[in-house]
Assembly symmetry: C2
Homo-oligomer: 329 residues x 2
């Protein structure tokens, strides 16, 4: 069953690749197309857009009509990565130099702006009725604005000694919760599903998004984030992770002070011994265990949201959302 | 006549201010709204959005229906300024620190992304039929993508020894030609004008936009660009102006070499004597005279475009475009 779904999603992902080639010209501007494709070709599983098409088909729609939207979701995803890498000063992604390192900061900002414009252009070209196109644009714009608001909470939380779990939750819900399910929502819109489906998918995102982000926070402490296996990047960058939020609340005053100092220090002044000390603090204060439990609970809540649907949609969507839960990180 | 129009535009500009207050929340995110408003309140005449409303009314439409689009045009304008200032490393705008200087680079990128999302949200809220809303979104997205492509040509032309007048023209047409008239186009769309009106307005922009940019290039050599009267900023930044393109083609080889070297040097290594030498070169090679003539010719072509319209639209629109020509720089 899951193998069959995997194969189907791989087929959809190939359709998304063709769609991307139509949506992103090879010759725009000076280095603009080159830099955009440098990033787009760096990989990625095209999971979100493939799930858009799969959702549309599963709910009785024509996935061909959802392809332009699926492409837009992938373009948004990549636009956010290009801007985030510069905002975070991340020098590598999937073990290659990031766009700003390779093409300069000015081009990186502009490439992100470009990908977003192409995303809107793609939705506007969707072969669907005007009402559905407008509903797709509404959903896309809603998720995009939420993500940007979440990103500002992320930037503002860096090395903040008053960072809390509440602020963490608000941040990750906005930053990852909506655009995680945007593709599935769009697929449901194209399939002309009843509003309850879209509502439930957004709710699913509000629980699953934070869970994925927490797993990502944990990944940074174990296998690293695709930067040649280096671990503790979030600590070097001072990123407000769930571990940081929890440790701030549970460490002794002197430890808290040292933690904030390490998080606040510029990246090149954070040595391996600092990273090791913070990880040991996370372990000691129970932050790692807490984070694992937090993620599990959110996933369970997300699954409940879907299992509350009428039988037919429940079976259809839970296969897809379960797949998303297994594969998204 | 012109006084009456001025007053009307001032009234429209006040409506745009109210519209902006509805479109841009005061409390989003962490520093996000604050930084957005810091920029939005730094002034600006709201000329483009006021012309949007005036165009709509003049063509028989209801300007209230165009207000959300007018607001979107103003948000786009400001989004581009916030990103441009960072891309160009400009530290001051209207004699105040730019957003990236005041709030950091990460926030500046994110604030620009935010303003663009709010612009789309504003258009999507327009109290017009779905078809018109889609036509507005098409026009907006078209102008936005063109502007971003033009910006990449600008970035790529910095201190480029092979920069030409042809490349200059392509760059400025895209970078300023379309979004200059976007507001007026949107006003015409809301007024349900025949397609010829929108076509002519875009064409008008293709001539007037470059003319304004050339005037801006010239302004940098005389009164400066609102950075406490400092002149020659474009030279310090190595920006590919029309003067640079012309001088490259007309200077002697040794002069050309020195010109490129000065343009390529980091800003803080370009002294007043370098700036003075470049301005003297621009004068000697006839670049300044050429630029003035170029701008005058483009303006004349732009006016011809409008005067080719049927009588009724011609009178209506030429008052507005003449106003734009007089005031936009």
């Amino acid at each position: 069953m899951n193998h069959e779904l995997s194969e189907k999603l791989a087929t959809y992902a190939r359709q998304v690749e063709s769609g991307l080639r139509r949506a992103v010209p090879r010759t725009d501007g000076d280095l603009l197309s080159e830099a955009a494709w440098y990033h787009l070709e760096s990989g990625g599983k095209r999971l979100r857009p493939a799930l858009c098409l799969a959702t549309c088909a599963a709910l009785g729609g024509n996935p061909e009509e959802a392809l332009d939207f699926a492409v837009a979701v992938e373009l948004l995803h990549n636009m956010l990565l290009v801007h985030d890498d510069l905002e975070d000063r991340d020098r590598a992604r999937r073990d290659r130099p990031t766009v700003w390192v390779r093409y300069g900061e000015a081009n990186a900002i502009n490439v992100g702006d470009y990908l977003l414009g192409l995303a809107y252009r793609s939705i506007l070209r969707s072969p669907v009725s005007g009402d559905i196109r407008l509903a797709l644009l509404d959903a896309f714009t809603f998720a995009y604005v939420q993500t940007v608001v979440g990103q500002s909470l992320d930037i503002g939380g860096r090395a903040d000694p008053r960072f809390t779990l509440e602020r963490y939750e608000d941040m990750v819900t906005r930053k990852t919760g909506y655009y995680l399910v945007l593709g599935m929502v769009g697929g449901a819109v194209v399939a002309k599903s009843p509003p309850i489906i879209m509502e439930r998918l957004w709710q699913f995102g509000r629980f699953a998004g934070p869970a994925f982000q927490v797993r990502d926070d944990l990944l940074d402490l174990t296998v690293g984030k695709g930067r040649s296996g280096r671990i503790g990047c979030d600590i070097e960058e001072g990123k407000p992770s769930i571990l940081y939020a929890h440790a701030l609340q549970h460490a002794a005053p002197a430890e808290r002070e040292r933690l904030v100092a390490i998080m606040a220090a510029p990246r090149d002044q954070t040595g391996p011994e600092d990273v090791a000390w913070v990880i040991q603090l996370y372990r000691k204060t129970g932050a790692i265990e807490f984070a694992q439990k937090y993620a599990d609970e959110k996933i369970a809540r997300a699954q409940e949201i879907i299992s509350g649907l009428p039988l037919r949609e429940r079976e259809t969507l839970s296969r897809l959302t379960d797949f998303l839960i297994t594969r998204a990180t």
